[in-house]
Structure formats: C-alpha cells, structure tokens
C-alpha cells in the first residue's frame, strides 16, 4: 500500500504547511516605539492620533500588492520588512506578488463595482504614474495620510519631484517609497566606447543591425525608453510639459514615430516583434542577443552581475542630455479593512533604517527618497557609506543628469500611439 503512504505523507505535509501559514498570534506583549506624527498635520480620516493608529494596527494583516518579478525585492519585503513590522508593531505583512500594476487597480475597481466598499482585499499598493492617477481619479484611494506619518519629517515635500507623481499632486494620498532613474546598460567587453547621446545611440543601432531592441510599451522600462526618444525627437522635454494637449500631441509626436520607425529595420528581429517585458529583454541581453539593456533602476545591473545573470564586465551609462527620473510610492485603497496597519507599514518603509537597508545593493539597491538635509548626521554618514555595485554610477553623476517625467495622460497617449504607429505595421 505504497499509495496510501504517499497520500498520508502529503496530507501530513499539507497540515504542517498550513500550520506554518497561520499568522502567529502575538498578544499584548509588544512595546510600541515612541513615535509622534509630523507637527501641524491633520490626522488621517477615521483616526484621532498616531497612537490610535498604532493601537488599531496591532494584529492586523496587510495585503501588500506589488510587482513580484524580482526575487531580491520580494525577499527584502517578505524578510526584512515583514519581520520588522511584525516584531515592532504586531502587524503581519502579506506580500501579494502581481505581474503588472494594472492588475490590482482593476481589482480594487472590480470590488468597487461589486459593492465591496468596506472589506476590500488590498491594503497597500506599490504605485506611481498612470495607476496612481487612475486610482485617485476613480476615488479608490484612502487619504490624506502620508504627511501625517511620523517618518515623513525626513521627506522634502517642497521638492516637486516628490510632491508630484507624474505631474499629479500627491496631496497625502501616497507615501514616498523610493526613487529611480533610467540608465542604459552595456557589456564593456563587447563595446569599449558606448554612445553617450541619443543621437550616437541611434547611429550605433543603424551601424549594428539586429543588436538592439527595447521592451514593448506599456512595459514600464520600454515606455521610458520611448519617452527618451520622444524627448529627443521633439527637441527636448520642455515641449511636452504641462497638461495633456491632443493638438500638441498630434503636432509633435509624429517626429518621434519617424525616428522609431527609421531604426525599426535595424532592430532585433528587424523590429517585427519586441520583447514583451523588461525581463524578457534582460534575457536577450544576458545571452548576447542584444548589446544594450536598460533599466529604470540604476543599481539593477550590479545586482544582476551579483547573482550571476549578467557578465562581470556589465556597466551602465546615462545620456549626456540626461535620463528620466521619478519617485515611486505606496498607497492605501479606500476599502482596505486594515488601513491602520497599512499606514504603519508605509511609515516603516519611510524610516531612515528601512531606506538604508533598501539602498544596499545586496538587498535591493533602490535610491533613497529621503532628503539628506533633513537627516541626522549619523544617518547622513550611513547613506554616504552605501557601497556602490560595480556597474552603478555615482549618486552625483545620476543627480547631474536628471530629466522630469511627463504627466501621466501623456504616457498613456504615447503608449497607445506607439502600438498603432510603430508596432503594428
């Protein structure tokens, strides 16, 4: 009766695993750290003060919906962050990995449509840009809360790149999480002198057919690359700033499609298809099918070298005319039943300690969102001491070549137009 044994074995395994999955009950033994909210800010709706938030948060579980495609980031969230909020605040953090941002936007929308206004399933989302705009405009977000978070005192809310998310004001509906900047990635063993401007890159592509491509928008990274070409083609981002304007769009953007269509025959697979995601593109680069990669994270190349996926000679560069940078955030859906715990997690993510841990290349390598000027001397020194990976540019070089993002409707329009003007022959 081998079969019976097998089934028994499985049942046992399942029971053990289920037991392991149960949130560990931690009763009233937690000593809450002394924290006080940022002065002069109204407490978030439904809570009298920060203590009330901390009290309510105890024992709650936060379903944190986030892009789950990086084992490094997943590991940091389910490990370091989850352990810390459990230990300190009695909050259980449950990471829910999704393949794509719109998935959870749609999920909350679906719940709103079906009338689940009180007990939604999403408590915290990692968000920015179009998805933030959609959620905000559909009134799917809870807030304002973020400026009340105790650790928001380290955030420079006067910095427009933090206070505005792709041109839409944050207004306390999002808590900053990290910063990112676009970089180009290449293998120095194959290309000794990489192009340093968009023009040089375009020339290189035409001189080396089949060795370049970019992820198809709406992939986040591919979309950013297309914006760089558009900035270049319309003679600078200044021409596209401000509210979305269809007439301006129709007048300016054809120049961009022309450039993209010109290089298309020289792309990988002669531009008949594009990698459908950034990760697919990474694979092409890793295997030498294409000679350039790109990332909306300056430290990503270094960690890919670290875990053996990229050659050790991998390096990054930014265009002389600069590359696009943005801030990413976390936000709380309006129907989250665990808003207090979600705020506690958002607050922890903003802490110098968490930001420092996040910035370590072996943990994630994400750029900190805190203003060094608002930090204590000790924290400042710690941030300055973060080791850079072999392929990562210096903070100064990145900061010196920063371009702003367009407002989200521009992005949507560019992504949609790209499909018809470039992708579909």
């Amino acid at each position: 009766m081998k079969k019976r044994n097998l089934i028994l074995l499985w049942l046992t395994a399942v029971l053990i695993l289920l037991a392991a999955c149960q949130p560990t009950e931690q009763e009233d033994t937690i000593n809450l750290p002394a924290e006080s909210p940022a002065p002069g800010v109204e407490p978030p709706p439904g809570f009298a003060d920060w203590d009330a938030v901390l009290q309510a948060a105890q024992g709650q579980t936060v379903n944190f919906y986030m892009w789950g495609g990086s084992d490094l980031i997943n590991g940091w969230v389910t490990g370091y962050v989850a352990d810390a909020v459990q230990e300190r605040y009695g909050v259980t953090l449950n990471m829910v990995p999704v393949a794509d941002g719109p998935e959870y936007v749609n999920k909350v929308l679906g719940e709103q449509q079906a009338g689940r206004d009180e007990d939604g399933s999403v408590d915290l989302v990692w968000v920015n840009g179009e998805n933030y705009r959609t959620m905000r405009q559909a009134e799917l977000l809870y807030g304002p809360f973020s400026e009340y978070l105790p650790n928001s005192i380290y955030v420079n809310w006067n910095d427009p790149s933090v206070a505005n998310d792709f041109g839409l004001s944050v207004d306390g509906y999002e808590a900053p999480y990290g910063k990112a900047q676009f970089v180009m990635i290449y293998d120095s063993a194959k290309i000794e002198n990489p192009p340093t401007t968009v023009d040089e890159l375009l020339a290189w592509i035409q001189a080396n057919p089949g060795l370049f491509t970019y992820p198809a928008p709406p992939d986040f990274t591919g979309s950013a690359f297309v914006r760089h070409i558009c900035y270049h083609a319309v003679g600078g981002y200044e021409n596209l700033l401000g509210e979305f304007d269809q007439a301006l769009f129709d007048a300016q953007l054809p120049a961009c499609w022309d450039v993209l269509n010109q290089i298309e025959p020289f792309l990988w697979r002669e531009g008949q298809t594009y990698p459908e995601s950034h990760t697919r593109h990474q694979e092409l680069f890793a295997n030498g099918e294409v000679y350039f990669d790109m990332a909306y994270n300056p430290a990503e190349a270094s960690s890919l070298v670290e875990n053996g996926r990229y050659p050790e000679t991998t390096r990054t560069f930014v265009f002389d005319e600069g590359t696009i940078a943005n801030t990413h955030y976390v936000a709380i859906p309006y129907n989250s039943p665990n808003k207090a715990a979600a705020m506690v997690v958002a607050n922890f993510l903003l802490s110098p300690e968490a930001q420092l841990s996040k910035a370590q290349p072996e943990n994630w390598g994400d750029l900190p969102v805190l203003d060094p000027a608002l930090l204590g001397a000790e924290d400042q020194a710690a941030f300055n001491a973060i080791p850079r990976g072999v392929a990562t540019l210096s903070t100064e070089e990145l900061a010196a070549n920063r371009l702003p993002e367009l407002q989200a409707p521009w992005l949507t329009a560019i992504e949609q137009a790209w499909e018809t003007a470039v992708l579909q022959p």
Binding site: D100, P102, E103, V105, N106, L109, Q113, A114, G115, E130, N131, T134, G210, A216, W268, R269, Q272, T273, Y274, P275, E276, R280, E283, L284, N287, G288, E289, E419, L423, Q424
Partner: protein, 290 residues
C-alpha cells in the same frame, strides 16, 4: 428512491455545479458583454462592446492567429499521436518503459512545458547553443525565430508536445479496446497493409480521433498561459487579449473582454458543431435512409 427519478437525483450535484458555476458564468459574461447587470443597477442593453472590438484590427489579427495556432496544433498533434499509438500498439522489448515515458508529460503543467520550450528553442536557447557548437550558426540571431515569432511556432510546439501524448493515449486505449481481429478479417478478405490501415484501423480510430481533436482544438483555442510565456506581444492570442482587456484599468474595457469571451465561445461552438457533423454526415445519411 423512485426508479424513474434515480438518475436525476444522482446527477443533481454535478448539474448544480455545472449550471451554477459554468452556466452562470457564461450567462453573466453574455450579460456583461451587452452591459446588462441589474444587480449593479445597469439595465441598459447595448452592443457597443461588440461594435468596438469588431472594428479593431487587433481583434481580427488575434482571431486569425488563434485559429491558426489551434488548427495547426490540433492537426500536427493528432497526426503524431496516430503514429505514436500505432508504434506503441503491440508489445516489444521495453514496451512498458517507453509507454511510461510517453505518459510522462500528461501531468506536466502547460506552464512548465512552455518554460521548457522557451529554454530549448529561444534564439539563445539550448538548441541554438548546440547549433553554435556544431558550427551551424555564429550568433543567436542566426537561429530561426521559434519563440515570440509571428507564426507562433513556439506555442504550437508546446501544444504539440503536451497534447500528442494525451491524444496518443486515447488512441492507444481505443486500439487495445478493439483488438486486431477486424484487421485480421480484412487481411483474410484480401486487404494489404495499407488497405488494412486505410479501411479498418483508421475508421475504427476516427471517432476517438475526432473527440480528442475537438478537446485539443477547444483547449488550444481557449488557453492562456502558453501564449503568455511564448507568444509575441502583438498580435496576441484571443484569450490573452480578453484577459488584458478584463484587467485593463479602464473599466469600460470589461464589456469588450466579455464580448470577446462570448465570441470565442460561439466560435468554438460553431466550429465543433460543424466538425462533428461533418464526421458523422455519412452515418446520419445512412440512418436517414432507412
């Protein structure tokens, strides 16, 4: 228990599940595709969603791609399954082992199959590296584009890999069920090898082949994971297109997703009705005459 009611009572739980979950789901998809959802306060019926998707070039391209993939996968896998079943039909040394290997990929999820095909056939994949070692190609781009390609060969390969064994096992079971007496009888009546295959084995296998092909066709037409892993970004297969519309951040795309579902459902229904009718015409005609 009254005897007349007995079968209905036995069927009740299954029918409840199928009618509520499946029937209800299809009905709700139909309702949502025309914008009718009374419990959400929407009672206006509109065909906008159908109009919208039928006007999209992307939809018709997706449709033809999906049809091509489903037809090609079904045809190739059925043919291969026939060859395999005939080869595995009679016992030989190692028969058990090879039959077991033949069954081996029945429990393998399509997702893993797709990963295997990806690792094997991508332009920098295992086979490309072997080709490079053999001096056939010098760089990845020289290797034929088999995954993420316009003809969806990678998707078809995965479906063929998985479904050949499924169809093959069904055919093998049918062959074992009918034995070889009828072929012996045909041989005795003067049928040579080819005639025995053409006039005895093949007709005996036809009902099973049609059934298996219908299952395979319907599955490949409606499947999601494999095109997502191995498919081109554009045009995408219909189910992927439908799911993308469904999870679009614009809720107005949902009726379009539902309309695509309804169209997929209708199309499969019609195609399968036609194919089963065609395969049974002969029998129908004969039955009609008497």
């Amino acid at each position: 228990m009254p005897t007349r009611l007995r079968p209905y009572l036995l069927l009740a739980p299954t029918l409840a599940v199928i009618l509520l979950l499946f029937g209800g789901g299809v009905l709700l998809a139909l309702m949502q595709s025309v914008g009718y959802l009374p419990f959400l306060g929407r009672t206006e019926i509109t065909l906008d969603a159908y109009r919208a998707i039928l006007q999209q070039a992307a939809f018709s391209q997706s449709f033809f791609l999906t049809l091509w993939v489903a037809l090609a996968s079904t045809a190739v896998s059925t043919l291969l399954a026939l060859v395999c079943a005939l080869a595995l039909r009679r016992p030989f040394r190692g028969h058990r082992l090879i039959t077991f290997i033949f069954q081996l990929n029945i429990p393998i999820p399509h997702l893993v199959g797709a990963v295997g095909i990806l690792f094997l056939f991508s332009q920098s994949g295992f086979l490309a590296r072997l080709a490079n070692l053999a001096g056939l190609i010098s760089q990845p781009a020289d290797f034929p584009a088999i995954v993420f390609d316009p003809w969806a060969i990678g998707i078809i390969l995965e479906y063929v890999w998985k479904t050949t064994c499924f169809t093959g096992l069904i055919l093998l079971a049918t062959l074992q069920g009918v034995g070889n007496d009828l072929e012996t009888a045909a041989q005795n009546l003067g049928a040579n090898r080819w005639q025995r295959f053409r006039y005895v084995t093949l007709p005996l296998l036809t009902p099973s082949m049609v059934s298996a092909s219908v299952l395979v066709f319907a599955f490949t037409f409606g499947a999601f994971e494999v095109p997502l892993v191995l498919g081109q970004r554009f045009p995408s297969m219909l189910p992927v297109l439908a799911y993308r519309s469904y999870v679009d951040i614009d809720l107005n795309a949902r009726p379009e997703a539902m309309a695509m579902n309804v169209i997929i459902t209708l199309l499969i229904g019609v195609l399968i009705f036609l194919s089963t009718c065609a395969s049974r015409t002969k029998r129908c005609a004969v039955n009609g005459e008497r």
